[in-house]
Symmetry: C2
Subunit: 369 residues, 2 copies
C-alpha cells in the first residue's frame, strides 16, 4: 500500500491516518467538518489535497448510517481501488452499500475494536489499534484484492484481523458492547434523580458499571439503531433473569421456609453464573492469566517465625498471594505453604534457602491436606 484516503477525521479516522503516515503511506484526508479536517492535517495525519489518481485504499470513518451513501459517492468520483469502513455494526451498512448502488466487489467491511473516552481528531494516536482485534466482514462478492488490501491496513495499524460474517459480528457486539452499554445507561439513570447523599456513598464498582453510560448519546443512538433487533434479543434474556432475581430477593424474607431456601439458591445461582461469565471476558491485552506455584517451608513453632518468613519473601519484592499453615502434631515445626507467582518461584526458593529456611518437598507431606 502506497496511498490511502481517510474519509472522516474523527478519533478513529485520524488514528488510522496517523498510523499509515507513520508507516510511509501517503494519506489524503477528507471531512465535511473543515475544523476536524484541518486539525487532523496539522497533527500530521495527512494532506487535505485531492488525490491526483485513485488511491490504493479508502477508509470510510463515518457514522454507520452514512457508510452506504458515502461509499457510493466515493466510488462515483473514483477515489480508490478498494474500500473499507470502521463502523461498529456491519450488516446494515452492507445492505446500505447495495441499496446505494455501491460496487460491493471492492468493499470489505471492518470494525477495529478500539476507541477512547474522548472523540475527535485531537484524541487520535497512531498506536490506538496496536494489539487490538480488527474484525473484517467480507461478503461473498468481495474480491480477493480488496480483502488483502484491508488485511494490509490492519497489519500496518498493528492490529490482529478476525474474519467473521457480518451477522455473527453484529450478534457478538450486541452481546459484548451494545447491551452492556444500555444496561450501564439504565443503572446510571437510577442515579440521575437520587439524593446527593446517596450518590456520594459509592466506590469503584459503581464507577466501573456506569462509566460507558457517559458515552455520546447521539453516537450511541445511531449504533443501537443499526443493531436494534440483536440488542433487543440480548436485553430480553437479561430482563427475564432480572425478573427472576427480583422475585428471589422479595421471597428471601417471606414466611414460607421452602420458598425462602429456593430464593436463596436462585440468587446464588445468578451470582455464580455472573462469576462464570466474568471469567470469560478477555483480559486486557498483554495481561494474560497469572500462574501460581506453591512453595512449602518448614517454620519452627517460635514467636515471630512467620513474620520473619514474610519479611524474607518481601525482600525479594514478591507478593504472597495466599498462605496456608499446618501443624504436624508430633513435630517441632509447622508447614507453611506460600502461593507466589510462578515467575518468582525460583527467586523465592533461592532467597529462603540463603536465609536458612528449610524448603520442603510436597510429596512426603500428603495426608496433611
Amino acid at each position: 500500500m502506497r496511498t490511502a484516503a481517510v474519509v472522516g477525521t474523527g478519533l478513529v479516522g485520524t488514528s488510522v491516518a496517523l498510523a499509515l503516515t507513520l508507516r510511509g503511506v501517503t494519506v489524503f484526508l477528507d471531512d465535511a467538518d473543515t475544523t476536524a479536517a484541518r486539525t487532523a492535517e496539522a497533527l500530521g495525519a495527512g494532506s487535505l489535497a485531492v488525490p491526483p489518481e485513485p488511491v490504493d485504499l479508502a477508509v470510510l470513518a463515518v457514522p454507520p448510517a452514512h457508510v452506504g451513501v458515502v461509499l457510493a459517492q466515493c466510488q462515483e468520483r473514483n477515489l480508490a481501488r478498494c474500500y473499507t469502513d470502521v463502523a461498529s455494526v456491519k450488516a446494515r451498512p452492507y445492505r446500505d452499500v447495495l441499496l446505494a448502488g455501491g460496487d460491493a466487489s471492492r468493499y470489505v467491511g471492518g470494525h477495529p475494536l478500539a476507541g477512547g473516552e474522548r472523540s475527535g481528531p485531537l484524541a487520535a494516536r497512531a498506536e490506538l489499534f496496536e494489539g487490538r482485534l480488527w474484525v473484517l466482514t467480507p461478503a461473498d462478492r468481495a474480491e480477493r484484492p480488496a480483502l488483502n488490501s484491508v488485511l494490509e491496513l490492519v497489519s500496518l495499524c498493528g492490529a490482529t484481523p478476525v474474519i467473521m460474517d457480518a451477522e455473527a459480528h453484529d450478534r457478538a457486539v450486541a452481546l459484548t458492547s451494545h447491551a452492556p452499554h444500555l444496561l450501564s445507561s439504565l443503572m446510571a439513570a437510577r442515579l440521575a434523580e437520587a439524593e446527593g447523599d446517596h450518590v456520594r456513598i459509592s466506590g469503584q464498582g459503581l464507577r466501573d458499571v456506569t462509566r460507558i453510560a457517559a458515552g455520546e448519546p447521539a453516537l450511541w443512538g445511531e449504533i443501537l439503531e443499526a443493531n436494534a433487533e440483536a440488542v433487543a434479543d440480548v436485553l430480553q434474556a437479561c430482563a427475564a433473569d432480572l425478573e427472576h432475581t427480583i422475585a428471589a430477593l422479595r421471597a428471601l424474607h417471606g414466611a414460607d421456609g421452602a420458598r425462602r431456601a429456593r430464593a436463596a439458591a436462585d440468587l446464588d445461582d445468578a451470582l455464580r453464573r455472573g462469576n462464570r461469565g466474568a471469567g470469560r471476558v478477555p483480559r486486557k491485552h498483554g495481561s494474560g492469566p497469572v500462574e501460581y506455584t506453591v512453595v512449602p517451608v518448614a517454620v519452627p513453632d517460635q514467636p515471630g517465625a512467620l513474620a520473619r518468613l514474610f519479611a524474607t519473601v518481601s525482600e525479594a519484592g514478591v507478593n504472597i498471594e495466599d498462605v496456608s499453615i499446618e501443624h504436624a502434631v508430633d513435630q517441632p515445626s509447622g508447614l507453611v505453604e506460600l502461593t507466589v507467582e510462578r515467575s518468582s518461584t525460583e527467586e523465592v526458593r533461592r532467597l529462603l534457602d540463603a536465609h536458612g529456611w528449610t524448603l520442603q518437598d510436597r510429596a512426603p507431606l500428603t495426608g496433611h491436606r
Copy 2:
C-alpha cells in the same frame, strides 16, 4: 485510643489493625480461622494474646449476619468499652444486636467504603481507608463516648466520617453498590454460555461493566440477603426501564412512522438519562473535575501554520482538549481557539507569545460565534 481489638482478620479487619498499629494503638487480633489470624499477626497487624483488660474499642470485621451474635459474645466476655462493625449493610445487623441481647448503648454501626479485588489478610494494607468515606449509623440509644470512639477510629484510619440513618445507608448502598452488582452479574451471565468467538470481540467497556460480577458469590449472597427489599426496589425500577427500552428497540424498524419516531426518542431519552446519572458518580478521590479555558490565537492563512501552533503547545507538554477554527472573511488570518486545562493557561500564553503568536482577547471577536 490506646488499645483496640479487631475480631475477624480478613482484608478489612487486618487493614484496620495495620492502620491502628501504625498510629501507635495496641491491637489485639482474634479470628476463628487460625491461619488468617496468624497471618495477620505475622504481617504486624497486632497480637494474638487475650487483652489483659477491656480495650477502648473493638472492631467487628465479620460477615453482616454474624455481627449481632459476635457483639453479644464479645460483650459477654467484656472485650471492650465500645464496639463497632464494618458490615456493608446496617439496619439488619442492628436489629440482630438487639435480638441477641447486645448492649446497644455502646455500639455504633460503621461501613468503610473501601475494599479490593482480593480478600484475606494478605491483601490488607494500612492505607486502605485513606481518603475514603466511612459511614457511621449511630442509633438513638448509642451513647456519645461510643460515637466519639468510632470517630477517632475513622480519623486514625485516614477516612472521612459520614453520619447517616441505618435505613438511609441501606437504601443508598442498594442503589450504588448492590443493584449495580446484580446488574453486572446478569450481564456477565449472558457471556457464560456465549460462543467463544463472540466473547473474544470485546473491549474495555465489557470489562468495566462485568468486573464486579467476579466478586465472591457467598459473600455477596450474604450482603444481598441482608438488604434484599431495598435492592429489589432499585432493580424493579431498572426492570421497568429495561422493558421500555426493549420495546423501543423492537419498534425502531417497524412500519409505523410515528411509532418509529417515538421509539427513537425513547431510546435517546434512556441514553441521556444515563449520561446525567453517570455525571453524578463521584470521581476517584483526588481527581476532581478539570476546568478548562480557551486561548484565542490569530493564525495566518499559510500552509503549516496550524501544525506549528500545535507543535508550540506540545512543547509545553500541554494537551489541547478542543480546537475551533474560524476565518474572518476580510482578514489575512483566521482565529483559532485552543481549549486547554485552566492550570496550563498561563504557560501556554507565555510560550505562544515567546514564539511570536498573536494572542487575541475574546471580546472584540464576539459575533463570530
